[in-house]
Symmetry: C2
Subunit: 406 residues, 2 copies
Amino acid sequence: MINIAVLGYGTVGSGVVEIISGNRDNIKKRTGGKEISVKYVLDKKDFPGNPIQDKVVHDYDVILNDPEVKIVVEVMGGVEPAYTYVKQALLKGKSVVTSNKELVAAHGPELLAISKENKLNFLFEASVGGGIPIIRPLNQSLTADEIEEISGILNGTTNYVLSKMTKEGSSFHTVLKEAQDLGYAERDPSADVDGHDACRKIAILSSLAFGMHVDFKDIYTEGIANISDIDIKYAKEIGGHIKLLATSEKIGDQVLAMVAPMIVKPDNPLYSVNDVFNAIFVRGRYIGDVMFYGSGAGKLPTASSVVSDVVDAAKHIGTNIMTIWSSKKLDLCDVKRAKHQFLVRVATDDEEETKKQVTGLFGVVRQVRAGIDGEFAFITNDIEEGEFKEKSRQLGGVINRIRIKA
Amino acid sequence: MINIAVLGYGTVGSGVVEIISGNRDNIKKRTGGKEISVKYVLDKKDFPGNPIQDKVVHDYDVILNDPEVKIVVEVMGGVEPAYTYVKQALLKGKSVVTSNKELVAAHGPELLAISKENKLNFLFEASVGGGIPIIRPLNQSLTADEIEEISGILNGTTNYVLSKMTKEGSSFHTVLKEAQDLGYAERDPSADVDGHDACRKIAILSSLAFGMHVDFKDIYTEGIANISDIDIKYAKEIGGHIKLLATSEKIGDQVLAMVAPMIVKPDNPLYSVNDVFNAIFVRGRYIGDVMFYGSGAGKLPTASSVVSDVVDAAKHIGTNIMTIWSSKKLDLCDVKRAKHQFLVRVATDDEEETKKQVTGLFGVVRQVRAGIDGEFAFITNDIEEGEFKEKSRQLGGVINRIRIKA
């Protein structure tokens, strides 16, 4: 019997308790005969009438000081007090499983180092991609390979909004409102819409893929609030879908990471990933292209990932499962050096004149028509971000520009 | 330093040697500092001038009797002598990594039991899905869940042929010939085309997903040789693609497994898996739908999977990585009980009369038109295979019938 404590009885926490009790036999088989039992649930609230009511504690010290608790499941979210609690648990000899991307992105290397030193485990499969197994495959399956790129659709809310805009031609604000009413988007949607959520997740994936610490604060991040129904129309015109991509790729010795809406073409497997689904695309030197697809959020998918980590922690009491993520910081490539094609929309009242100016600045480009009056749209050749920015400034009148995923 | 021996210096074997020497530093980091070194290559041939020439042996006993060899990599293919060699290696205390689906499907439970008893490992990630990590996720990531369905496009050759027929409208024989010329299909393509390859792979996946032994000989298997360009036309007409699917799903307490060409609709993520790519779709009670996508074959992707198993075996010398696949046989559901919708094409010279007969037998059905003279095509309601077969016999004149994936 292995006793665990669950910190936070919200959506994910209650899902964890539900799966552990509902799938007892299967889990026992998977741990090699050890039963997993929830001894405590830490929450500010009480839950009278709920089967866990007798397990609720309000004082974390009860958990910390109980030597019977071998694994702490942190599903509160946010950096504090999660960070303090997790660190204390590890220092007390308890393994930790978390679904908390803010915590992992901010303090991953330190918590991994402490767990290694103390022959414990700090596992975080559910912090990226909800139910999709991606952290363990990166750690244990793609080990023979050298990863060249890892890109993903890592935020379900924005993917839902963009998919719906693409399908129905509706505006960003109409669809966001709908998503909020359906509970797919928060009342304050900025963490999703502005790309901060995807940014933390790609920081975690890049750190694991390249073995050094990628600080999420260094990643260029652009959200989807500026994407209009007209942008989507143009994207369709060139056979693409606009997706909020979080990408990270090796350019020589450096890594280029960014989060931005990009036009994805049908030959990329991320093209068909719609609605609230997430997917992570990995390109390895030997393995070629691999993609992992599934529910990126949701109570039970996320809780299922958490419980699979609990099973792994239970199987590895006393042994650290190696994770290569050193605290040495990875120097990211300056985003100005990133090369893309851009789809550019420019306001004009004289198409011929604008075309002349565009050609003068960008060379011969491909014009795109989507039946919109008063603007001239075109696709640049491959151009560095820095150079593009300067030339756009010279051109003037740019309504929007969207990167095209190579 | 961990010494290994590679049995078979063919496509995969040479890929394994290439990755181990080309990615030495990365692999050393992943094993926690242990270097992997190829001490022997067993092959009938010599390879003069090849860097491995001094490692080639023709007598397996040299490998078996060398206590320095800790891991044997079997990439010869076929059941014998692979089975004898692998069993001998395990009994001599050596872990085994294999890419050999015939071997794993035929003798998996026995070899797993021997390896468990002797605190060794028998790993076979590359036996299904080439470079796609699927065996380890099934074993270690989806452990908190109860798998309800596992289905896949598990054979690259047939997927290439069907994709090409769909894209170009060409006939089966034209495309197969092209695939043979390009090296995507064997001169004797029957193992692929008749579904035997996919059958062994779904037997392995089902055994791992449901924890009991699924005998590949019990799985109803139908290939793609009867799929014509006209079938593809009808499938398109109803918005689907024909794919050779290997599926296995829980129906009550039983498991229904089959390999057959099926019409897949766009809401299924397998719909967009084209060309030589493979994908495995998993539906879990908690996790929902997950899909793993990548190169299902090819020298380096497959070899990369093999080497990731070698790394895992090297990290776990002296400890067995638990795999739940008991030798107890899983009773498969009688395929007659399987329920599908079918697309049916019937020869006719009197459409109205045929329609009347069809309605009399199958009830009101949906007629499908694809501009083909002399036939009447329709989609049945959900119907059991057994009942369908009997009614089709009564109807007579059936040109082809294709299952529609629910």
